[in-house]
Each structure stands twice: as C-alpha cells, then as structure tokens.
Symmetry: D2
Subunit: 362 residues, 4 copies
C-alpha cells in the first residue's frame, strides 16, 4: 500500500512503464476550477525525454486522457482520473533484466518484495515514467496555487561539480521563478547551461551518468500553514519529494550548512515592514516550527546519477544466486536532473495545496 | 491535525511544556510483548537536559506513568498511553514572550496559526520537551526491533566545523552501534568528544549556540521493506525525522555528495556471499527504489543551532507591530545535538516498526 | 475527498456515469495471486441492468480493462487499475435535470455541494453505475477470501411486503451461499422468486418502484478479526455498505429485533465441539466486541425503492427557486435489489479482506 | 489499530476499565473556543451509572482532568488530552472471568485476538466505561455545533416491546431536543417513562436485562455536508455509532420500513418556502446521496440487552476447552439504553463536526 498519498487531497498513482497505461486519480480538488489544459501539457513536456540531445532518444508519448472529474471545462469536485497509454515500449530491451539485476536500480529489492511477481520490464512500477502522472496532478495543484499568487520555481544548482549560485533567499521575485519554469534547462545564469550540458554530453559518450542538486523556491505562501510535529511543512514535502525515484537528500533553508553556523548567525532576526513581519536573513528557509513564516520557502533536492549506464557492471543472477556482470543496452538518459525539476515542483505543489486546504485557505 | 502519525502503529502526541502534562498514545503494538521499563528510562535520560555541564542546568522531570495497554508486565495489544507531568517550570522565565517573538523559534508562526490562543509558555506545543513522549514510544519500538536483531545507533558526525569520520557503510557491526547508544556523548573516536565539548562550552560562555550533524545507522533490516513511491523508507523516515524541532536536512547513503559522483562510481555493484546479496559500496545507504536491500541503512540529520541564545537580538512586538529587541534570560542549552540523538533514533525506530508491520514481519 | 477507502487495501473510485469512463484503483493486493477473469466478469454481470424484463431495458456495457498491476496472469503487488468506458449513454434523457431536481435523488444535494459544477447527467458521480468498479474490486477480494474457504452469499429476504425466511444463523453451509451467488434472482425458496417478480412487474407497469432487504452471510471467518471501537467488524462493514447508493439501514445478527429480547434470550451461550467454541444461538451475528467469534457473520441491508419513477412528482426548479413538477422519462429499474446483491457482497468482501490483512492472515 | 478515528478531527481513545486511567486525545479542534466545563460535566453524568435505582449501584468516578490543549479558558488548537482515573474498581468481582468466558461479552473474542494478554478485568478495553472519553470528546463537539445552532437530541423510542411514537421528521423544534438532553430518562411523552422503568425494575429483580432503540435527531445542519460514496453522512456516522459496544443496528429516515413503501410513497417531494428547499415527507432522514439536504437528520440505533445477567448461563472454560456454566455476581445494569443516549449523541456530534470541518464550515 504505497501509491496513495494525502489528507485533503488524495493522490492515487498506478501503472507500470510497460503495462497498458499509467495514471492517477486525484480526489479532493474543489469544484468549479477552470483547468488550463495547455499548461498541463507544457508541464508534462518538461518531464518527457527525447526532447533534445542531452537526454535519451527514447521518446515517451505523454498524451493524457482525462476520464472523469472534468465537465464543461471545469472541475466537478468529484475525483479526477487521468491516464496515459504506454506506447513506445521496446520490451526486448528489458528481457535480460528478469534475473540479472541492475546495480542502482530497484530490480533486486522489487524482486524480493513482490516475490518475483512484479512487472520487471522497464522498471515496472519503479520506472521514472511513473512520475508523469505526478506531474499531471502537480500541474493542477500549481494552477490552483497560482490563482492565489503562490508561485513555485526551481533552478539546477549543480550538475556534478559544476555549480551556480543559490537563489537570493530574502528577495525573490516571482517573475524569476516563472521564467525558470519556461526554460528547458533552468539555470539562473545562462552561461552555466553551456558548461553543464557539455559535461553531460561528455558523460553520454562515456556511457556514464551524473546527478545534481535542484533548488526550489515558493513565494507568497501565507503565514501559518503547516503544523508542529507530524504535519510540518518539511515533513509533508519531504515525504512527497522522497517518493520521487533517485532522490537521496533534502534540505531546507541553509540546510546542512546551518550546522556550521553559530546561533547568533543562524537565527533569522525579525523586523516589520509595511505591516508585515520579515526577517533579515532566511536560514530557516521560510519555515519555523514546521509552519510557514511568510519568507520564501527554499529547499534543495539531491538527485543521484542515473543508474542505467552502458559500462560493464558487476552484479548477480538472482535465479541461481551467482555472480555475473551486465552491460545495459538501450537508450538511457545520462542526466535526469532537468527532467526531475517539474517532478520536484509537482510534488511540492501537491504538498502545499494539501496544507493550504488543511488551513481552509482553499 | 498534526500530532497523529502512522498506519500500522498510530502515535498520538499531546502536551505543552508548561501545561499540566505531556504524553503519547501508541495504538497497534502487538500483545504479549514484555516491556523493559529500565530500557525506556535509560532512553528517556539520554534526552533529558541537566545531566552535565554542557547542557542546561534546567532539570526536567521525565518520570513517565503508563496509564493503559500494559498489564502483568506485558503489552495487552490495546492502546498504550503514557504521560509525564510537567514539574520544573518557571513560567516567569517565559512571560516576556507573549508579544515579543523570539528569532528562530515558532513564537511568531504559532501565534499566527493559532490566532493568538496558543500556549506560548516555554514554547508550548513547540517545545523540545515534547520530544520526550516520542522517545518513550521509540524505546518500545526499539525493543521490538532488537528482538529481531535489528539495531539502531548513531554518532555525532559533527558539531559546527569539528567533524569525525563517517561509519563504515559496508561493514557495520551492531556492537559498535550498541556501544554508542550507551555513551552520553556518542562519538566513535573518543578524542573527538573532548574537542567538541570544549567548543560547546566556549559558546555557552559567549551565550551563543551551535548545531551539528547526527549520523544514524540501522543494521540487520530484512530485504524488501518499504514500498515504491509514497511509502518508501526515505519518505516514511524523513516524515518522522522532520517532525523533530530543529531539523533542517536529511540525506541517505552518500546523500548530497552522491550528486558529485558519476554513475559508474555511485552505483553499488552487487555480489553473492553465503547466500546473501551484498554490494561492494553502499552509496544508496541500504535503500533502492524505496525498499531496503539488506545493506546497512545509513542517514544523516542536520540539527540547527539552538535558537535560544543570550545575546541581544532584533525582533518584533507583534501586539503593536513594531521593531524591538530581545535578550533571552533563563537557562538554555548551547547545543542540543547530543540530546537529539535518542529522538532521531526514536523516530527511525517508530518508522521502521511501522514498515516492518506493513510487511507483516511483526 | 470521498472516494478513497481503506487501510491495508486502498480503494479509489472515480467516474461519472456520462463521463468518459468509470473505474477503480486498488492498492495493497498481495503479489502472485492468480485472478480469475471469468469470475470477475460473472460478478459484473450480476450487477448490470438489461438482463431480463424486470429490470431496465437500458443496457450498460460493463467490459472492464485492467490497466496495471496484472502481469502474466497474476497480480504484481502494485496498484491494480481497471476502467470501464461509458458507451450506452443517452444524454438527452437527462438534459431536463439540470435545474429541475428529481425527488429521492442527489440532484439537489449534489448541486449545492458542488456549487453547480457537478456533472448532473445520469446522476453523474452519484449514479448507481459507479457501483460497477466496486463490484470489480469486490470480485478480486472474494477470490482471495475464497482461497481461505471464506464464502460470502446473500438472498433477497424481502421485496416490499413479500418475505422469505432468514438464513439458519447457526448452521449455514457454504454450498447454499455459493448456489445463491449463481442465481440471477437469489432466493432460498424458489417459489418466492415468482411472487416477488410478479410484484415488481406490476409496479413497472404502474411506473412505480419498490425496495427490499438483502440478507448476507459470511462463513468460515477465523476468530479474532476486527478490533474494539473504531475498527469493529460492524464499523468497517457499515461504513462500506452505506457507501452504496440507496442503502438506508443495516443490522447485524438479530438486529433491531434483539431489542425486544431479554438478555437471557439474547445472549449466545457457548459450548465446545471438536476443539472449537460455538454458540447455541447467534443473535450477535458472529461478532462480539467488534471481533468475529467464528459463528456465521450475518447482516441485513435495507435498500430503498428506486427514486426514478415515471409518475408525476412535485419538485423545485433550483435555478429560479420555484415549485414545479417533473415526469421522468427514460428507462428505469422498478427494483434494484437483485442488482444490489453483488454490490453489497463486494463491499463486505473488501471490508473483510482489509480486516484479514490487518490481522496478518493475508 | 482500532482506537484512532477521524480525518479533520482525530480522536484517540485509550484505557482499560481496571487499568490506571482511561482517556482521549482530540487533535484538530480549532483554537480560541471557550469550553463550557459545566456542560461537559453534565454530559458525563448522563452516561455514568449509579445515579438511580434502575441502573447499577456501582458508582464510577468520572472526574476528568484536562492535561493539554486548554489554556486560559480556551482551546489552544493543539491536541486536547483528557484522562479519568479509575477508582471504584472491585477487581475480585472479575477474577472469575480469566478463563470462563461470559456469553454476549467480548471475553472469548478478546482472548483470542490478544492471545491471552488482554486485560480481562471488568471487560478491559471492551468495557462500557471506555465510552466515557467518547462522551467527553462529544461534549466538546456538541458545543461547537451548538454555536452554529446545530442541535442534537434523542429520545428512547422503545425498551423491549414498550414503544413511544417517533419524532415528527418534518417539523422538529430544537427546543424539544434540548429538553430531552436535560432529562435523566429522555422520552417525549412522560407516561412512557413510568411504563419503561417499571419493566426495567422487574427485569432487575429477575436478574435479567433488556435493550431498546434510541432515536436521534439533528436539526439545522447546512445543506451539502457529506460526500458520495465513502464519506457519506451515513457511512461516517454508522462507523462511529457501531464503535459503541452493544449496538447491533442503525437505520436512517424511514430505515428498514422504507423497503415496504413504493417509490411514489417513499420519495420526498420537494417545494420552496421562504427561499429554502424543503420536502413534504422525510423518509430519507435528511440525507440524499450521502449528503445533507437541510431536513432534520434522523436515525435509530438498536442497543442489545446488557450481556451481564445474574442467571446461570452455559459457557466454556477456554483454558481447558470444556463446557461449564457461569453465574455472574456483582452489580450490573439491567438496561444501559438511558446511559447509551449521550454516547450515541457524542458519536454523532464527533462525526458531524468532522464533516463540517471537511466542508470548511468550521
């Protein structure tokens, strides 16, 4: 029981990448909301591979079909179901996996967990493709938040050792975030795109891969959402973000580096400006005691390098429990970080929408 | 609705630090389990302040009383309720807070969220003291896991810039972990204790504070617990860990540093040994696709410096919305990291017990 | 947020009767189970209208398509999604509803709840058709229970004032229950079928309708499933049964008539037979303290008469808030009781499977 | 995992009747609500035995202590914990139970479920006494609903075969309901009290017991609360009502008798009056499609006769699996129906408050 999440909104994800279809059921979206189908398509495209040469040449059809919950251009208030039929599968690329498990993937763990009955093709239910329904749901959540001027955006903070500067955590304009969501490779300083892409292409030739860090910001959140303890903003968001395959770490505000600061430096001292409480610094990333304080919500997500690489790797044939090796053929992404950006944003949007609804602000 | 967590075990935490009592109700613990009350007391003591000079001189009574779910030395299978009466409160230490909010604390956010009706004394429901019931519940969870040879232990990886080496992520003996849980200041190399403590004392004199990183390991987990997506091991554990006040980041395995590695370096290649599948490296920290793979589960938690410092800080009087300053009196901890260790372990134990029960292994 | 249910199994239902498709996502079914597709089809047919002359001539296509969670003839352990495309809709039959609300239906309440944005056609999300996905999920649950010799079956205890005797609550053979599930009009004594059907046809000619009582039994449940208080067997089952449109009451064992018995008559005295504890009577219907005691689980469900009748009815035009009248055209069922039987059994199967899983018996 | 309920409010009940204390944690009550402690006491007294001669002479102390969530006379918005210490236990009255199970009680089922480790004394966690915390929580819920003019009240519709007329389901004045909540033995026609009480006393002398039917009404609920399917008003309320020990049936509106009516009689035709939609009849009991329609919500609860009777009963000694008999000593209630009334109302209040919060009306 792992593919249902939420309190005020319930998200139910299903599908294997080589099954008939993947999809999502979203329950709890209020009635009467005009869905911008174009916007949803745009978000889905950000996630899809095959758009450019740094990603895989494998094209995934991501045309979704809304089956329910949508009538005369608006949400009905009843569950919204959306499916995407799987089309461009080459199952024979994956025949080899059945017994020879790929390092870094969930082949072995999935095999043990599902007693061998899981659909192993293309990673089955573990495939990155399953993030497509999440992006669909996130696109709806983002629209609802946007209507309240709450904007989510991210940039690629680093690919391997190539970094760019963080957001300004105190003054963050929503237009910067909106611009980033329109970029195919979202970086703040354009020259960093070239450096990062060159590195990725180099690794592609080496049949290797690399990961990176995505930095996400949310502006204009009202003060007071989230709750102490189990429903803190960090708890809810990390729960969702860690649901995304390949995530290995998350940090808020100054994150791990806050542990190097003294309290006198780390504390965000406060002041009043135009009737609002603000802070001089934002090491806490917009959350205190699990509750938003009105400053930009900032967090960073660590994405590990794509496990599917073309080099020979040492592994095991689990049907006979013997050591062997594997050389993964097929068309794989050397770096999924750009494609992970809309997924991270989708997860954040869903979590924040749920919290906003809990606070009866939506 | 924030203080209830869990699926197979449900934890319900209540209390304000200056209210009458704090406590927890734990529903779902199987019947017939012999509780080691001494062990629970020992874990509670690890959390309590006032034990030595690096922490606060403020003593907290942590004597718990089990009200239900426990009969003739064993759990009954019905809910276990445990309370701790608040005794050593000096409310006048906290009178000043009502309108003048402390930087880094949840005073402002709590005020807004609860419309001014929250119990602000001593941080109310936001107080670190509320972690005591969590440690109680964790102590029970740990005992149940121990019976299956699953052991949790942590060391203080760093205090400020003073660091010690990480665990050996491949060969980790449970005896090392058990030894650490018996240390008042858990470090692997004893000389690091001296260096870290000296730094903490220095900050105490400066009326400042510092944070740190706790590295936790769990050994002997069976393969296959956790589920892809929303119930991944990382999702469940991070949800719980971020419920602990002062946590600002969490990472699994190589964590954020995995983003600097190429796939060929990051992937944990596999081999068979004595009928078990193992990995040469453990950058994934014992979890793949959200599911345990049998290697040690390793994660790191970032604890920010204690917000309560004695230096003058700029802040706001929210009753009149004017800038002011605050100088916090009273007895405060310059570093809560050693006391946070059992809380982090408790959270991990509860999350893992819940997952073990979901897998019907308990 | 209303269409997700469950703890160990999570059922997520979606769809409007005149939308594109209806369906269900079932999460938590264990891996490796061989699904009997024929059996599922058979159960779906029991629910569908248009099979004989006592029901409506409106044919509903109930061909389902499994999109995920099923591979090589067995469940994968990941979510099972199944959809049914809506085909035989005559939307113009329903145009009139938009403002003139039908008595006994959810037109008015749905309009208010969903602020007018609901899909009103054919009852939208309130339609009886939405029970089709529930029957699909129930068919899977029934198969799993059957494998443990747990059998569910029902008979029509009454249609209007025409009654037949109850089950023998003490000795109930599973073969009787199995036979009933194979009957198109499930009654114990065949002559009652004739009497009941004649009455229904008479009402059909009068353009009127009638309800009835379904009596359901479950045999071979192990002792000890269910929990006191909020997860009692009665709580779980009634929650699900009342989710079915048209249900107005539920009673267990002797039900409401137990209130006429003295304690000395009502108490089910116990004895031992062949190493099992049995009761001389079964007024408690197989449940004590919310927990099964091994005797047959018996309950009765009250189904109200179909609200869609052809006679003229006084009602309101909600767009102008004026009194008016309505004469519903179209093809409607004079009695949905026979078709409700598999739905009630499906709900019971799902609830019991969830409880069995909670007890780690599955 | 059985003692936690709710979505927007979470209720967590704990305690055994002969343990140290029983209690409840309520999470989700909004901040700033003034609690009327007198009112809570009054509700608790309605439930407690020993008030008059028709009930048991066993006095239960029901003095509760609020441990958290309440500060300066108002709710803080954080969890409210309330406990009641067990005082008047005579454990030796219950020694006999350990192996010789009482018919009609949960001794046998509890023994099997909890593997013999349950606290059997006085029914342990199954005791009627555990309803005291439920009444506490219900009293808070009722106050919040009252502030919105929503009033809940009940009368004893029947004790055994002695009946009184139902409520007027169309015109129901809240003052009638309020009067009933102030009566120790709530009947509409006073002469029925005498008849019913005489019968109960007669059974007390015979060492026997009797049950009855409670009819409850709720007026002034807004239109539109509840959702189709799994969160219908009937689903939520029945789930809670069946959590109360001794409940064997529940019906809404005309209930089981609606199955005898033709559709033309059963349908509640509608009309407009002073800008509100009303119905000429109310066979649906104020709920359509799981959603309230503004008419009085009416339901009936069947309470079985108290299992604890003084006559000799045939039973089993489960330690040796042999037939035996039992003669229950001690002081027991011949009829718990009057004491069950506030418990049923508490359950309804909690369920409706949760639904109101889901609709963001509170």
């Amino acid at each position: 029981m792992s593919s249902v999440w939420g309190k005020n909104i319930k998200i139910s994800i299903f599908g294997e990448s080589h099954g008939i279809a993947i999809g999502v059921v979203i329950d709890g979206i209020p009635p009467g909301i005009q869905l911008d189908i174009e916007y949803i398509n745009k978000e889905m495209k950000r996630r899809a591979p095959g758009r450019n040469k740094i990603s895989t040449s494998r094209k995934e059809g991501d045309n979704f079909e809304i089956l329910s919950g949508y009538f005369n251009g608006r949400t009905t208030g009843t569950p919204i179901a959306s499916i995407i039929y799987n089309t461009n599968q080459k199952s024979k690329d994956y025949e080899i996996i059945k017994n020879i498990v790929r390092p870094g993937h969930a082949d072995y763990t999935g095999y043990i967990k599902y007693s061998g009955f899981n659909d192993y093709r293309g990673g089955g239910h573990f495939s990155g493709r399953i993030t497509a329904p999440l992006v669909f749901a996130g696109a709806i959540a983002k629209q609802i938040l946007n209507k309240r001027n709450i904007v989510i955006g991210s940039h690629i903070k680093s690919i391997g050792n190539i970094e760019e500067d963080s957001f300004n955590m105190i003054n963050l304009d929503k237009s910067l975030l909106i611009n980033l969501t329109n970029k195919e490779f979202p970086v703040i300083e354009d020259e960093n795109e070239k450096r990062m892409k060159e590195y990725i292409l180099k690794l592609k030739e080496e049949k290797d891969s690399i990961g990176g860090i995505i930095e996400t910001a949310v502006v204009n959140l009202p003060v007071g959402i989230g709750s102490p303890f189990f429903d803190s903003v960090e708890s809810r968001l990390s729960h969702l973000i860690f649901s995304i395959p390949a995530v290995k770490g998350i940090e808020f505000g100054a994150g791990f580096s806050i542990t190097k600061l003294k309290g006198s430096m780390a504390n965000d001292e406060m002041y009043v400006e135009e009737g609002k409480v603000k802070t001089y610094s934002n090491n806490n990333g917009g959350v205190l005691g699990g509750i938003t304080n009105g400053m930009p919500l900032i967090f960073r997500t660590a994405i590990k390098p794509t496990p599917s690489i073309g080099t020979v790797q040492r592994t095991v044939d689990i049907s006979i429990m013997k050591n062997t090796s594997i050389e993964i053929k097929g068309r794989h992404d050397p770096c999924i970080v750009p494609r992970a950006v809309p997924v991270v944003e989708a997860a954040a949007a869903i979590g924040l929408l749920d919290l906003m609804m809990e606070n009866k602000l939506i």
